[in-house]
């Protein structure tokens, strides 16, 4: 279980997160919604150890992970698929996937994970010798997801997995995310696609201006007047 307690993150003088608390139970699919600049990516980066925190704690499976380096966080099984995919552009699809299984545990299961990921994304299997930069946007997103899965994550953090995708591709990606969760992967999903995100997530948080302003089961978020007005345009 991931537990974030009263987390404060600042970029110099600018406060990005003002005491954010959230939990992701093991096996859950939790959504984090909010507009641009609300602090969603900052939160994921803080959990990953990419940026320092000022106050508050982050704990994983009961032990404190605040202040760990990104590689140490990854070895604990917390894997982030960053926004904008951030693939290793000059590496092939296969090499990108292998990089996902870099730490010792997943590396021991690399053949098995590779088979599973290629079954999940047959398109990647067709393109395994191509460089990542030569893939289409949707394929790149599949690769980003696949690479994260190669680490056999205990917690998978997805940052805007549908960014820049055609609606039909986006829908397919959300479907896959739902399937992954049903197959047992714990997921923290950050997205601006409020409707699709909340339709596959059980619980959700609304992050506004660095603060959690609403939390609860997805249906409750969807029914909320503010969410309806600001994010769904209803």
């Amino acid at each position: 279980m991931l537990a974030v307690e009263r987390l404060v993150v600042k970029y110099d003088e600018l406060t990005a997160l003002r005491g954010v608390s959230l939990t992701v139970e093991s096996g859950a699919l939790v959504a984090m919604i909010g507009s641009n600049g609300a602090g969603k990516t900052t939160l994921l980066n803080a959990v990953s150890g990419l940026i320092p925190t000022r106050e508050g704690t982050i704990s994983w499976e009961g032990s404190l992970i605040t202040g760990l380096t990104p590689d140490a966080v990854c070895r604990l099984g917390i894997v982030q698929a960053p926004e904008g995919r951030k693939l290793f552009a000059k590496m092939t699809v296969e090499e990108n996937l292998q990089m996902g299984a870099y730490s010792p545990g997943p590396r021991a299961r690399v053949a098995e994970s590779m088979k599973r990921v290629l079954e999940l994304f047959p398109r990647l299997a067709e393109r395994r010798r191509q460089t990542a930069e030569s893939l289409s946007g949707g394929e790149q997103q599949m690769l980003a997801l696949g690479r994260a899965l190669m680490a056999t994550p205990g917690l998978l953090m997805l940052d805007e997995p549908s960014l820049g995708l055609a609606p039909i591709m986006a829908a397919q990606i959300f479907e896959i995310i739902g399937d992954l969760n049903r197959a047992g992967t714990t997921i923290l999903l950050v997205s601006q696609e409020v409707l699709q995100t909340l339709s596959i997530a059980r619980d959700g948080y609304l992050l506004e201006n660095g603060e959690i302003t609403l939390a609860g089961p997805s249906e409750r978020l969807l029914a909320d007047q503010r969410v309806k007005k600001s994010y769904l345009g209803l």
């Binding site: 990419l50 380096t69 990104p70 590689d71 966080v73 951030k86 290793f88 552009a89 292998q98 990089m99």
Partner: protein, 322 residues
């Protein structure tokens, strides 16, 4: 297809074995010393460009200060042979701890410097090499501006040169072997990932600081050993010779000329550039030779930005039906 592959590798093995055998026996066939000396320098540069490629080619941290490690090795060897007493065996063996000295210095310097990226890292390594050179030039213990004499190996010139030739050949072979092994290891994969995107690599559990330090230290070790051997070859070392900034730049150019993506690139780059340079300075007037040499770089950089080997590989890919 399957039947072609084994004969291809077999051919490769036979080719490499044949080449090694020729290079090994070459100095003992009584060629002019000039050829021995020339090949010796080629080996030296192949060794340095290959080692440099670990940090510069794979990890993408362009060090413009590798002459500092070469010079450190030379000075360390000079001091060590003085301490243990000169002799053929001790002169040769002292080059190994000299390489370790260079590697330790790389760790000390690398710790702060490897936090910088791109042009900042390039500039700071360049400055570091100048600082080392100036320090040595002003340290009385190390001979200061007078340089240092190294007791020779008490052998006839040809024999001495031949022995150093064989040692440098061995060092080159070991360097290439180590670099090739690293390229295909998890270590190498981590370095390549760092080159592409260091943050993302770290979120894939790549311990970037440690990998960079390791690659930097190793890339300093081999030039350090080469410098140690070269001290015995020169018998007199001076800061302006062994810390020459041109050498730092030449190492980078050789590696990038051949292509930094694989171990073969720096080997090809160092061999080609050494030969071209030698031929030009032998057969063409000096000023014209420099102009041709310079233009060659411009042409390669414009038409083959990823080096010759990458250019050939791409050509092969698009040329073949599949």
């Amino acid at each position: 297809m399957a039947s072609v592959c084994p004969t291809k590798t077999a051919k490769k093995v036979v080719g490499i074995a044949l080449l090694s055998a020729i290079l090994l026996v070459f100095p003992w066939l009584g060629p002019p010393v000039y050829f021995i000396s020339f090949l010796y320098t080629v080996f030296m540069f192949v060794c340095m460009a290959s080692a440099w490629n670990l940090i510069g080619g794979y990890a993408g941290y362009l060090s413009f200060g590798h002459a500092a490690f070469f010079g450190t090795g030379a000075y360390a060897a000079a001091m060590l042979t003085k301490a243990v007493g000169p002799g053929t065996a001790s002169n040769l063996l002292c080059s190994i701890p000299s390489g370790l000295v260079a590697a330790v210095i790389a760790l000390v310097v690398g710790y702060p410097c490897l936090k910088l990226r791109g042009p900042y890292f390039a500039v700071i390594t360049l400055c570091f090499a100048f600082v080392v050179q100036l320090s040595v030039q002003n340290l009385g213990v190390l001979g200061g501006p007078d340089g240092l004499w190294i007791k020779g190996m008490d052998l006839p010139v040809e024999t001495g040169r031949s022995i150093l030739y064989e040692s440098m050949l061995l060092l080159m072979a070991i360097t290439i072997l180590v670099v090739e092994r690293i390229e295909h290891s998890k270590f190498g994969a981590g370095l390549r990932a760092i080159k592409q995107d260091e943050e993302v690599a770290q979120t894939m559990a790549v311990n970037a600081p440690r990998l960079k330090m390791g690659a930097f230290a190793l890339s300093a070790f081999f030039p350090g050993v080469a410098g140690g051997l070269h001290a015995s070859y020169l018998t007199y070392i001076h800061p302006t010779i062994v810390f020459d900034v041109n050498m730092s730049i030449l190492i980078v150019l050789m590696a990038l000329f051949g292509g930094g993506a694989s171990w073969l690139g720096p080997v090809v780059g160092a061999v080609l550039l050494s030969f071209i340079n030698e031929l030009l300075s032998t057969f063409v007037k000096a000023e014209l030779a420099r102009i041709i040499y310079g233009s060659l770089f411009i042409v390669v950089i414009i038409f083959m930005p990823n080096g010759i080997m990458e250019f050939i590989r791409k050509r092969k890919q698009t040329g073949s039906p599949h």
